[in-house]
């Protein structure tokens, strides 16, 4: 990974530090499963998703709210998949 992308991923990861523990855990699992080298599409979608307020974002992730945006829907799907089935012991 070039240093520019590394910096962008670092910023993105920091923006995954949220005010709600629920989201922290979902994002932690996401990164553990995806690794740092995510594709440009996911990077763009995640960047947009991270601009949401915490409670709204959590409602989207847990399915209580929906959004009419294909890219974001796909990204939310990835977060949801990461959320299930991870074993304990990974929590920061």
């Amino acid at each position: 990974m070039d240093s520019e992308k590394q910096a962008r991923i670092g910023r993105l990861k920091w923006h995954c530090r949220r005010a709600l523990l629920e989201l922290d855990i979902v994002f932690q699992r996401f990164w553990m499963q995806q690794g740092d080298d995510i594709d440009a599409g996911s990077e763009a979608a995640l960047t947009r998703l991270l601009a949401f307020e915490d409670h709204d974002l959590w409602d989207l992730v847990n399915g209580r709210a929906t959004i009419d945006d294909e890219e974001l829907e796909k990204c939310i799907g990835m977060l949801r998949t990461a959320g299930f089935g991870a074993e304990s012991g990974v929590f920061g």
Binding site: G10, W14, L21, H55, N62, G63, F84, S88
Partner: protein, 591 residues
């Protein structure tokens, strides 16, 4: 390694409820004020608060600040300072109304007044019956509060440094505070913020425990920085545990679930709370339920392969009730426990929730040191990182948001008063800055060191096992040895990635430097306190008429002060004298 210097009248570290409230005071008075924050202000952990903020407005029924004061003293198990508690309860209406003027969208009654709901431990007429005292904005109280105060700050020209991490306090040889050193996460640049007033509002440190309801951001940075600068930490043995955090994840399951009929069961399927609290059962107070759960686990009746959790059962409730009255619970259980709560019970454990101790302050928000509480010149603190001490050994729900508003404002006001009397900045003490640079350099050059993630996990497991809900003499003693061993590993953490821009590995290593100070203070203070009081519950404390519930007022009605230097402990008296009213006299705490 180089650094630059930036000068301000005041520097505030933290942009949660306490930091934002303090900043309004300083900027409104025209002082050049910088607010440093690791994350965007409205993503501070205050966002997670839903229950509300306490104030005896009396909008729905009669209420009085004196009743609120009584509840808070009793809730604190008499460890709270009664002058600070009177101050907070008297100021509550004023700060809530101010918040309303800043644009906070409180829920309303038909007559337009702020709607108020009841909350555990808040009573009318000196403990007689529950009273409606909590003011909320739907289930987003903390979030709405931060938005209102952030907007106000923008209006009065507070200067925000977002995604900046404060690293150390700058304290000169006379003991006066002159600002902080900080790192710009975007560039890795180190800057000395040179100020006449420095306010810490960095929030709690719940991440010292393996199981915590706190978001990852709560790493006790302010508390750690203060300890490294020679400021003692007060009452760090007192941590509130919430009974129902999802096992493994920690995510909070609200008390409302048991309110709607949820039942706790052990591995035999038994509703064990019937044995511990025959009347209130699963709805007994937080500390009683948490202790019962841990007893079941310790006696081998826990569930799962390691027998280390109990079950919260709502399968007998109609699915419509769960989906309608308990929104979000089904999703949380599915997401974090992998169970469909309509069909299977949810694994839960008592989970660390709130830090009652912290940086010692008085009700004016000044940081104070020593047995006689001498103010440290130029240093103030407020919010969860501070210990005023209003929560004493146990906090009442909704009193934390009130603490942020009252003491955030008070710290800001005192700083303004002091700034009015101050001259030019004192010459900057470069020795403190050199200490930061040495710490940064150590981390950058460490080889053959310890892994940050593994060391943090070792700390969290040690705290969970040795200083949890129930505390045992032998376990505490062992815990002290173990946490000091972990501290040795923290001193030699190594990061592989040495890049400058948004290097999260480096940030986490610095956070661990702070967490470990909190962990040491907690373990050592807990080991030393040979009684049960509020959230500090020892297995060997004797419950009789002289020491009710194990509380030993004759020997232990005093605040702990832990010094980093040599892990020394000293004790200072509890302020039993309020500002204007009579002392609320000691008695057995029973509900």
């Amino acid at each position: 390694m180089s650094y630059t210097v930036r000068k301000f009248d005041a520097v505030i570290v933290g942009a949660g409820g306490a930091g934002l409230r303090a900043a309004i005071q300083l900027s409104e008075a025209g002082y050049k004020t910088a607010v440093l924050t690791k994350v965007f202000p409205t993503r501070s952990h205050t966002v997670a608060a839903q229950g509300g903020v306490a104030a005896s407005l009396g909008n729905s029924e009669e209420d009085h600040w004196h009743w609120h004061m009584y509840d808070t003293v009793k809730g604190s198990d008499w460890l709270g300072d009664q002058d600070a508690i009177e101050f907070m309860c008297r100021k509550a209406n004023e700060v809530v109304v101010e918040l309303e003027h800043y644009g906070m969208p409180f829920d309303r009654l038909d007559n337009g007044k702020i709607y108020q709901r009841p909350f555990g431990g808040h009573m009318s007429n000196f403990g007689e019956k529950p009273v409606r005292r909590s003011c909320a904005a739907a289930d987003r109280t903390g979030h709405a509060m931060l938005h209102a105060m952030y907007q106000r700050n923008v209006k009065v020209n507070t200067q925000f440094f977002v995604e900046w991490m404060a690293l150390d306090l700058i304290r000169d040889p006379e003991g006066d505070v002159q600002g902080v050193t900080a790192m710009d996460m975007e560039t890795g640049e180190i800057v000395a913020f040179h100020s006449k007033a420095t306010i810490f509002a960095t929030g709690g440190a719940g991440r010292i425990y393996y199981s915590s309801t706190n978001a990852f951001i709560n790493t006790g940075d302010g508390v750690g920085m203060a300890a490294r600068a020679g400021i003692p930490l007060e009452d760090m043995e007192f941590w509130q545990f919430h009974p129902t955090g999802v096992a493994g994840a920690g995510v909070l399951i609200t008390e409302g679930v048991r309110g709607e009929g949820g039942i706790l069961r052990n591995s035999n399927g038994e509703r064990f709370m019937e044995r511990y609290a025959p009347n209130a059962k699963d709805l007994a107070s937080r500390d009683v339920v948490s202790r019962a759960m841990v007893t079941e686990i310790n006696e081998g009746r826990g569930c799962g392969p390691n027998k280390d959790f109990v079950l919260l059962d709502i399968t007998h409730l109609p699915p419509e009730t769960i989906m309608k009255r308990l929104p979000g619970i089904h999703e949380i259980a599915l997401q974090f426990a992998g169970v469909d709560a309509l069909k299977e019970p949810i694994p839960v454990v008592p989970t660390c929730h709130y830090q009652m101790g912290g940086i010692p302050t008085n009700y004016r928000g000044e940081v104070v040191i020593g047995v006689d509480s001498t103010p440290v010149k130029g240093f103030y603190a407020a919010g969860e990182c501070a210990c005023a001490s209003v929560h004493g050994a146990n906090r009442l729900g909704t009193n934390s948001l009130l603490d942020l508003l009252v003491f955030g404002k008070s710290a800001g006001e005192t700083a303004v008063e002091d700034l009015k009397k101050s001259g030019a900045h004192k010459p900057l003490d470069t020795a403190s800055i050199d200490a930061t640079l040495a710490r940064v350099n150590r981390l950058n050059t460490q080889t053959g060191g310890s892994n940050v993630h593994e060391t943090r996990l070792a700390m969290q497991r040690t705290m969970q096992k040795h200083a949890g809900v129930f505390r045992f003499n032998e376990l505490l003693k062992e815990g002290v040895t173990k946490i000091l061993e972990v501290a040795d590993d923290v001193a030699r953490t190594e990061i592989k990635d040495k890049s400058q821009v948004f290097n999260t590995a480096r940030i986490e290593a610095f956070e661990l430097d702070n967490l470990i100070e909190v962990a040491k203070a907690t373990m050592i203070s807990a080991e030393a306190r040979k009684e049960s009081r509020g959230a500090h519950v020892r297995d060997d404390a004797i419950d009789n008429d002289v020491t009710p519930n194990g509380r030993d007022d004759q020997n232990w009605l005093k605040h702990t002060l832990w010094h980093r230097d040599g892990n020394r402990l000293e004790y200072k008296p509890v302020k039993m004298k309020p500002l204007t009213v009579d002392t609320i006299e000691l008695k057995k705490r029973a509900y």
